[in-house]
């Protein structure tokens, strides 16, 4: 197109939620380069006020259907932190298993149904049913397997039933453990083929020295459910001080609240986690990373989809390890807990403030609650991964435009769409706090 470009993509497709891409280039200078969030606001933090802390998980799970289990885990962690409750080892193991299923399920959805059509040159997975039937079937099979495991573990994946403050209302039987193990063991071949498929695709070549943020820890485990918050620029902060990481601010041009760390945007998600923690991946995931040229992570945002593929291998193998350990140790059913609205005082309540920081599919998610001595929520703050990524996505858009401005409008549009999709944005999540402005 050249030195003067006007692009206005309304309601970007194949992302979760509603967003627009708006670019205005005049005489080669970028006048506007925005990712606008136009999802209707939902006011979750406002709605939580005055409600019982024992309803927080149920409600905040409803922020997002894709990462319902991630919101559940972050919400429970924040609530338990506020209540001063330490979960048992068994509960932690089962929560890690649930988080692995969430990452695997969500990554498969993104890799196959949202990102792959661009890489195969089609508009959605629908035409792939005819041209790549085995690939579509594999994606649906993988997704269903994750869903089946979640059905057993927490009743269902979308808005889990059994996960609660204090643990689980119902624990898997021995038979359930075998069924979950069997379901997951059958996925090795499908995931090997997924790695093979992704390794053969041509991702756009683009690099930018972004700052990456993810949970970090001192032990050997790939940190997803616990740890401090760290960045590739050497920052490390306890989760209770998450606001020092996110530093939310408003910008006049955009509908979104932005975040920055040390005056610089940052990225969260699979690629960020690989950049911070790739040496802690399961050995099979290390092999996959090697095959996908991600052994040391990298700074091509388009490769976030490949990084998700590496994490799929990690999550599957680590989940199998957890299940095998649970089979050996046996499940202690005395830990089953019925909380409800805490009518029976199953959980001791005190006033306090708590923070949850969990690596959900799209990056680190923060929930923070302040409660009174009766467990009523006084204040709630939720910062989702997508809101942390928006400033960095815009940074990438600004950096990529000079290299592609000579291309056709169609090609520029596709490149920008692919870039945004690579971050796998979850706009419903971010709409609990974002401004709303339509560009007509």
């Amino acid at each position: 197109m050249g030195e003067n470009i006007k692009i206005n993509i309304q309601h970007l497709t194949r992302v979760e939620g509603h967003g627009n891409i708006v670019v205005d280039l005049k005489d080669g200078a970028i006048i506007k380069c925005n990712l606008e969030i136009v999802e209707a606001p939902r006011f979750f933090e406002g709605m939580l006020r005055g409600r019982s802390i024992f309803e927080a998980q149920h409600l905040t799970s409803r922020i997002c259907g894709i990462c319902a289990c991630g919101h559940t885990l972050a919400s429970i962690q924040a609530a338990e932190d506020a209540l001063g409750l330490t979960p048992s080892d068994q509960t932690i193991k089962l929560r890690k298993l649930l988080l692995h299923m969430e990452l695997l399920d969500s990554h498969i959805l993104h890799i196959y149904l949202l990102a792959l059509p661009d890489l195969l040159g089609v508009r959605s997975f629908m035409p792939l049913i005819a041209t790549h039937n085995d690939v579509v079937r594999r994606a649906l099979r993988l997704k269903k397997a994750c869903n089946d495991v979640c059905n057993i573990l927490v009743g269902r994946h979308v808005h889990p039933i059994r996960a609660t403050i204090g643990g689980f209302t119902k624990l898997p039987s021995e038979n359930d453990l075998d069924t979950m193990l069997n379901n997951l063991s059958n996925l090795h071949e499908d995931l090997d083929e997924t790695v093979e498929l992704i390794s053969k695709l041509q991702f756009p070549q683009f690099q930018r020295d972004s700052q990456y943020v993810a949970l970090v820890s001192d032990d050997g485990e790939y940190p997803l459910l616990s740890g401090d918050v760290g960045s590739t620029r050497g920052v490390r902060i306890n989760k209770s001080e998450y606001k020092k990481i996110t530093n939310e601010y408003m910008v006049p041009h955009s509908s979104a609240k932005f975040t920055n760390l040390n005056g610089e945007p940052y990225a969260v998600g699979a690629l960020a986690r690989l950049n911070m923690n790739c040496r802690k991946l399961h050995s099979k995931a290390v092999e996959a990373a090697k095959k996908l040229n991600l052994s040391n992570g990298g700074n091509n945002p388009f490769l976030n989809t490949a990084a998700q593929t590496v994490e799929c291998v990690h999550c599957l193998n680590d989940a199998i390890g957890i299940l095998e350990a649970l089979k050996t140790s046996g499940i202690d059913y005395k830990e089953e807990i019925l909380v409800g609205a805490n009518e029976t005082s199953a959980i001791a309540v005190k006033a306090g403030r708590g923070v949850g920081a969990v690596e959900v599919p799209r990056g680190v998610l923060f929930h923070a609650y302040e409660i009174d001595e009766e467990g009523r929520i006084l204040n709630a703050d939720i910062i989702v991964p997508t809101s942390q990524n928006i400033a960095n996505i815009e940074g990438d858009m600004r950096a990529i435009i000079p290299g592609i401005k000579h291309k056709s409008e169609e090609e520029i549009t596709l490149a920008l769409e692919m870039l945004v999709r690579a971050y796998d944005p979850c706009i419903s999540c971010s709409a609990h706090f974002l401004d709303v402005r339509f560009v007509d």
Binding site: P41, L109, M126
Partner: protein
């Protein structure tokens, strides 16, 4: 026979009900053999502007633009299906209506709150006519299939109008009241096969209230177990707040 043209549209929600459909696995391909999906923004870039045989609506209506958009979709759709609590009852989005709009917007967005277009949350049928309802947060997949079959055969689907307790008893669960906690099963529409209680959690009332809830019976039960009525009423707000906008909702 040509497959009916169907489109999925999302309004304010978590999009989890679409995912419930995606989670059918390979049997999703069987569904796609009987309907032709022509628009589904979350997973397709294809767009379609013509007349729709079936519009499947997820999410609640809570901005002036959403009101216009749902009216336009209704105008070009022969059949309209509302799926999920957000669409059928307003869902948890209805809790917003507990607060004055300016107050809650100011709490979440600070001084800029007036820039945010928002109106009281409404269920879809409080704005346009709805032909089929698939209740629940999220939808219960077998019920979605039952509704899909009914609409393909052009026969009505009757949502059960008896309480969750009926299904719960058949499933042999111990009553949550006997376990010391309050549960909305006695006043909530069945049709989910008492999904949450089967998993040893309480019913949160996500399918909305039965049309004629046994109020006196419910109050008796609450008193008998020494539980707080205020707590139950508070819990009912989670999924039933939008009913106040329209007593027949």
């Amino acid at each position: 026979m040509a497959r009916p043209k169907a489109a999925f549209f999302d309004f304010s929600c978590c999009e989890g009900c679409q995912l419930q459909i995606a989670n059918f696995g390979e049997s999703l391909l069987d569904i796609l053999n009987v309907i032709e999906v022509v628009e589904f923004r979350e997973i397709m870039s294809e767009k379609y502007d013509g007349t729709l045989d079936v519009a499947i609506i997820e999410g609640s209506i809570n901005t002036p633009r959403a009101v216009e958009r749902i009216k336009a979709i209704r105008a070009r759709s022969k059949t309209l299906v509302a799926i999920g609590a957000c669409a059928t009852t307003g869902g948890v989005n209805g809790i917003k209506n507990v607060f004055p709009l300016d107050e809650i917007a100011g709490y979440v967005y600070g001084g800029n709150f007036r820039d945010y277009e928002t109106i009281q949350t409404m269920a879809v049928h409080q704005v346009v006519r709805v032909d089929y309802f698939v209740h629940g947060c999220p939808i219960y997949p077998p019920e979605f299939v039952a509704v899909l079959k009914a609409l393909l055969m052009a026969i009505p689907y009757d949502v059960p109008d008896y309480p969750v307790c009926v299904e719960c008893k058949l499933n042999g669960n111990v009553c949550m009241y006997d376990r010391g906690v309050s549960c909305l099963g006695p006043v909530t529409r069945a049709g989910c096969n008492s999904w949450c209680i089967n998993n040893d959690n309480i019913c949160y009332g996500c399918r909305g209230m039965v049309s004629n809830p046994n109020e006196t019976g419910a109050i008796d039960v609450i008193k008998q177990y020494g539980l707080s009525i205020e707590r139950i009423v508070n819990k009912l707000e989670m999924y039933n707040k939008c009913r106040e906008l329209n007593p027949h909702g």
